[in-house]
């Protein structure tokens, strides 16, 4: 914790110095011919080397989308793996052009670090995992349960808050190490295992029979994971933000990487505007007219990215949940392109 504060304070002061002089990221990026993207040093589904030893994941696909919008080439990206202590310093020093590394959007980070958050690529949050044969479907049925928790994390505090607020009894079974927690749950020492939903899903795959366990759909804390750009460079911020919006709009309009060429002939004015057939929305952004077409063609829409990396058919097997579009009961929403 102390470490974190020092880093934050340090990057805050340094960040302020650096950001003022760092305008024109888009020009810099165009000049050097690639996007330097800060990613994690490994989180399943978000950024991890695939079978071909190349970076893959939800965070990585966002970098690829951005590169496609600028260069029409999803491979015009260089990845810098950063751990959580380095990430903001690497931004402040200009080592990377943006961060796309499971960073939770919080007020202090947004206002004190000289950073801007682009938009929530993934709504994560703390969830519960129970054995299927227990028949539990909602956390409200967890009264009196033994709950496996990793100690010293916000997870522990969130769980205590949640059970207190809902007048439920529970017995915490705490461990220091994450693997110990998982083992204890698997050995039946507790009824429930709680941590971030994506973490639950990742750990479930290690069980002998993963399908014996269910992750309850109710989420009890807010962990919006968002890409980050430097504050004070609105052009670059717009490019990053509208890349994200284009992914969502494409899904909403039913444009996928498979049918995008077909969709060029669509009669829907919204699709025409998105794909640059009608009007020019790319030039004011500093990009080409067909910027969104390139994103969808090269990387796909939000749904494709989600399903490819963390969706139900991947080992993580996460339902869309709150990450569904607003039209489908979720909260992913993008302003219109017009």
């Amino acid at each position: 914790m102390k470490n974190k504060i020092v880093t934050l304070a340090l990057s805050a002061t340094m960040g302020l110095m650096a950001t003022t002089a760092m305008a024109g990221t888009l020009e810099d990026v165009v000049a050097k011919g690639y996007v330097q993207c800060g990613v994690t040093t490994g989180v399943a589904g978000f950024a991890l080397p695939d079978a071909d030893n190349k970076w893959a994941g939800l965070d990585v696909d966002y970098c690829k989308a951005l590169a496609s919008a600028i260069f029409n080439d999803a491979d015009a990206v260089r990845y810098t793996p950063l751990n959580s202590t380095e990430r903001f310093a690497a931004m402040s020093s200009g080592e990377v052009d943006l961060l796309s590394r499971v960073t939770t959007w919080t007020m202090s980070r947004d206002t004190q670090l000289g950073m801007n958050f682009v938009g929530t690529m993934f709504y994560d949050g703390q969830g519960f995992m129970v054995r299927k044969d227990s028949g539990i479907t909602s956390p409200s049925e967890l009264s009196g349960a033994a709950v496996c928790i990793q100690t010293g994390t916000t997870t522990e505090l969130n769980a205590a808050d949640y059970f207190a607020a809902n007048n439920l009894e529970f017995t915490p079974v705490v461990f220091v190490d994450r693997d110990e927690v998982v083992k204890a749950y698997e050995d039946g020492r507790c009824d429930v295992y709680t941590t971030d939903a994506s973490g639950l899903a990742a750990n479930r795959t290690k069980f002998a029979v993963p399908s014996d366990h269910v992750i309850l759909s109710e989420i009890i804390s807010k962990e919006p994971l968002a890409p980050v750009v430097r504050q004070g460079d609105d052009t670059w911020f717009n490019v990053a933000r509208w890349t994200y919006f284009a992914l969502l709009n494409a899904e909403e309009l039913g444009v996928t990487s498979a049918n995008v060429d077909e969709m060029l002939g669509s009669d829907n004015p919204s699709v025409k505007r998105l794909l640059g057939v009608e009007g020019d929305f790319g030039t004011p952004l500093g990009l080409n007219k067909d910027w969104a077409y390139q994103i969808i063609k090269n990387v796909g829409n939000y749904s494709e990215i989600y399903e490819r990396n963390v969706g139900v058919n991947t080992p993580l097997g996460l339902e869309r949940g709150v990450n569904a579009l607003w039209t489908q009961g979720g909260i992913q929403y993008a302003p219109p392109i017009r």
Binding site: A18, A21, V43, P49, T80, N83, T205, A208, T314, P315
Partner: protein, 392 residues
């Protein structure tokens, strides 16, 4: 009494009779070493019991119940209950452990077969091959042309490695150092650290004993500052703080920063090891050299250093081994050395099983052990060869 009154006189010495069966062979050895006294017997039995308790499960985990790579072996086999180490996982991810993110050769990536699997990474593999070809004769004591060999290894080879891996010339595709990884990076950091720290340490040690105050102070300051800071701090400083002090837009390669940090750090330790050797030499040696008319450098080069360094071979190799193992610390600043590639692969859900992480760490430990044990045996051999019987 007269001689011939004796009933029998042996004229010659009888041959030694063989030792009794109970005191030779395995029985005799164990009687002497394992069961020589009641307390030894008890200790032996306890020790045996412990070994019997530990070894069979360990053997079963590592070999007996392990899942070996082969046709049709998938993650399901590793997930099954009661299996041991998942070596199939190591086999599947091996290219990542050795080459990290290094891109495959565009042509050979599409080919099949054993040759293709080597040629996919021909740039890194040729670096390994040339390295072995140069290093083995260099370390082989009786071979000639050591000077040529040394120049090739210490001057030409690093340039070769740099351009081979980095590319951007001779039509080679450029590969950023961020894409270097795995064992390749571990060996690069280890070798650069070793090659830089020894001469630098010698110079610092000599400087520390110098009579010139500025040089002496500078060397003492360098040694004491670097020795007083933990390596993790050095690496964090290099990777987090340094970029902030640099002019905006200017960045120094991350791997280079780590290389400099590791090299300076171990040079400071090396300097103190070498100084120990220098102090062990009697003053008469340098006086004798001076009386022969040798200047400072000549006496150092031909009289003092050869003796001093020979004394501290164990200390030097100790530092080398420590340095090689410390290279794994670079993983905390986001450089993908062998340990980091193992750690990140342990998160790979395609091979998610209970024993995935344990198997990965076992593999990493085995690789480190092979290299460190090799260094240790080599140093023992050199000690024996250079022994001029000053010690008993």
């Amino acid at each position: 009494m007269a001689k011939n009154n004796l009933a029998f006189v042996r004229k010659d010495i009888i041959d030694e009779s063989p030792a009794p069966n109970l005191s030779k062979g395995i029985v005799g050895w164990s009687k002497e070493n394992l069961f020589s006294s009641p307390s030894n017997t008890i200790l032996t039995i306890i020790g045996m019991a412990l070994l019997l308790y530990i070894l069979p499960p360990l053997y079963n985990f590592v070999f007996g119940h392990a899942v070996w790579p082969g046709e049709g072996v998938t993650v399901e086999a590793c997930r099954a209950h009661g299996t041991g180490a998942c070596w199939a996982y190591i086999d599947d991810r091996m290219s990542f452990f050795v080459y990290g993110f290094f891109p495959k050769d565009a042509y050979w990536a599409t080919q099949e077969g054993f040759l293709a699997s080597i040629m996919q990474y021909w740039r890194v593999n040729s670096v390994f091959a040339v390295g072995v070809l140069l290093l083995v004769p260099l370390m082989w004591p009786d071979l000639k042309y050591k000077t040529v060999n040394a120049i090739l290894f210490f001057v030409v080879y690093p340039v070769f490695v740099f351009y081979m891996l980095k590319g951007g010339v001779f039509g080679l595709e450029e590969v950023q150092t961020e894409s270097w990884g795995g064992l390749t990076v571990t060996l690069i950091i280890g070798l650069v650290g070793i090659v830089v720290s020894l001469p630098m340490g010698i110079v610092l040690a000599l400087g520390r004993q110098s009579k010139m105050p500025i040089i002496k102070t500078a060397c003492i300051m360098f040694i004491e500052v670097w020795r007083a800071v933990p390596l993790i701090t050095v690496l964090f400083m290099a990777s987090v703080m340094l970029p902030l002090f640099m002019p905006v837009g200017m960045t120094v390669d991350k791997l280079l920063r780590a290389l400099v940090g590791v090299s300076f750090f171990s040079a400071a330790y090396m300097a103190e090891v070498v100084r120990g050797g220098l102090q062990a030499l009697p003053k008469g040696q340098s006086e004798a050299a001076a009386s022969l008319g040798m200047n400072y450098w000549k006496s150092m080069l031909f009289i003092i250093l050869p003796q001093a360094l020979k004394h501290v071979i164990p200390g030097i190799v100790n530092s080398f081994i420590a340095l090689f193992k410390d290279t794994s610390l670079v993983s905390i600043v986001g450089i993908f050395d062998l340990l980091k590639t193992v750690q990140i692969s342990n998160l790979n859900l395609d091979w998610a099983s209970e024993n995935q992480a344990i198997t990965g760490y076992l593999f990493a430990a085995a690789v480190f052990w092979v290299f460190c044990f090799g260094m240790s045996r080599y140093s023992l051999m050199m000690e024996d060869r250079l022994n001029t019987s000053h010690k008993n």
